[in-house]
């Protein structure tokens, strides 16, 4: 054994072999499996290879998948998000629970016209009207040299 280990280049070959056989098996579902082989990431379905990609590509795809998944989750939770956003709007809090303009529009409608009005009834948009303060200036009567303009 010692003789084998002393042979030239054996350590490098062992390291290479270890790298090739080291694999992480991450079961995603019963049918879908992700595993690694060396610097590549493999995606298998029922044991059959679907795709093999470099680890850099796998990271980029994972980020894109996570973003898409959050959007899909938002649509799945749309009713709850609309209800929560309507409460926030009704309370007058400047907090957005979603960036989706359609959900925001629905939440606005719910806040304005939905049943929530019965439970949070007192919040309303104040009128922005404002009335100026004019001045009435009364001239002096003819011949009234002692009179003053009526600035009361």
């Amino acid at each position: 054994m010692e003789q084998i280990l002393r042979s030239p280049g054996i350590v490098e070959r062992i390291k290479y072999f270890a790298c090739e056989v080291t694999m992480a098996i991450l079961p995603v579902s019963d049918a879908l499996t992700i595993r690694t082989e060396g610097s590549r990431v493999l995606l298998l379905h029922n044991g059959a290879l679907i795709t093999s990609m470099p680890w850099q590509a796998a990271i980029e795809i994972a980020k894109a998948l996570a973003g898409a998944a959050r959007l899909a989750q938002e649509m799945d939770d749309a009713q709850r998000i609309i209800a929560d956003q309507a409460i926030v709007r009704r309370l007058g809090l400047p907090i957005g629970l979603t960036n989706n303009p359609r959900l925001q529009a629905e939440a606005l409608k719910e806040a304005q016209w939905g049943d929530i009005r019965r439970y949070i009834p007192s919040i309303s948009v104040a009128s922005g009207e404002a009335i100026g303060t004019p001045a009435l200036i009364q001239d002096r009567r003819k011949g009234d040299h002692h009179g003053k303009p009526n600035h009361q």
């Binding site: 009335i131 100026g132 303060t133 004019p134 009435l136 009364q138 001239d139 009567r141 009526n150 009361q152």
Partner: protein, 135 residues
């Protein structure tokens, strides 16, 4: 009370029944000893008793409505006589009292209440941001 729009005036603006620069707009001086305008329930000129109307102006000139701010040239009431008045009411004049919409109630102004002395009275509108009123 304080300066305010009449409820009917608000409805008229929102419903397209009052057009600030296209309609004939006037003001009337009101003696509260005879009738105090109610911005909630009064909607047309006939809701203010004739006896309470001390003076009425001519049609406002140079009206503007830029950015929702109503403005006009200062109004001169000529040779005003009669009782002391406590407020002025701006209304849309249709020529018929029962359809002349009350728009703005002003009881907070420099020179109010005012006791006419027979001379002219100039109503100088606010030169600040709100002018006559702002929606």
């Amino acid at each position: 009370m304080s300066n305010s729009l009449f409820d009917g005036g608000r409805e008229a603006f929102l419903g397209g029944d009052a057009d600030w620069d296209a309609n004939t707009i006037k003001l009337v001086c009101v003696d509260h000893a005879d009738d105090t305008p109610n911005v909630t329930t009064d909607d047309n000129l006939d809701d203010i008793l004739a006896a309470a109307r001390v003076a009425t102006s001519g049609a406002f000139a140079s009206k503007t409505k830029t950015a929702g701010v109503a403005d006009a040239a200062d109004v001169v009431l000529t040779t005003v006589t009669g009782d002391q008045f406590e407020s002025i009411v701006i209304y849309k004049d249709t020529g018929t009292e029962s359809t002349s919409l009350l728009l703005v109630f002003i009881d907070t102004a420099t020179g109010l209440p005012c006791t006419p002395n027979g001379a002219n009275i100039t109503v100088a509108w606010d030169s600040g941001a709100n002018k006559i009123f702002r929606l």
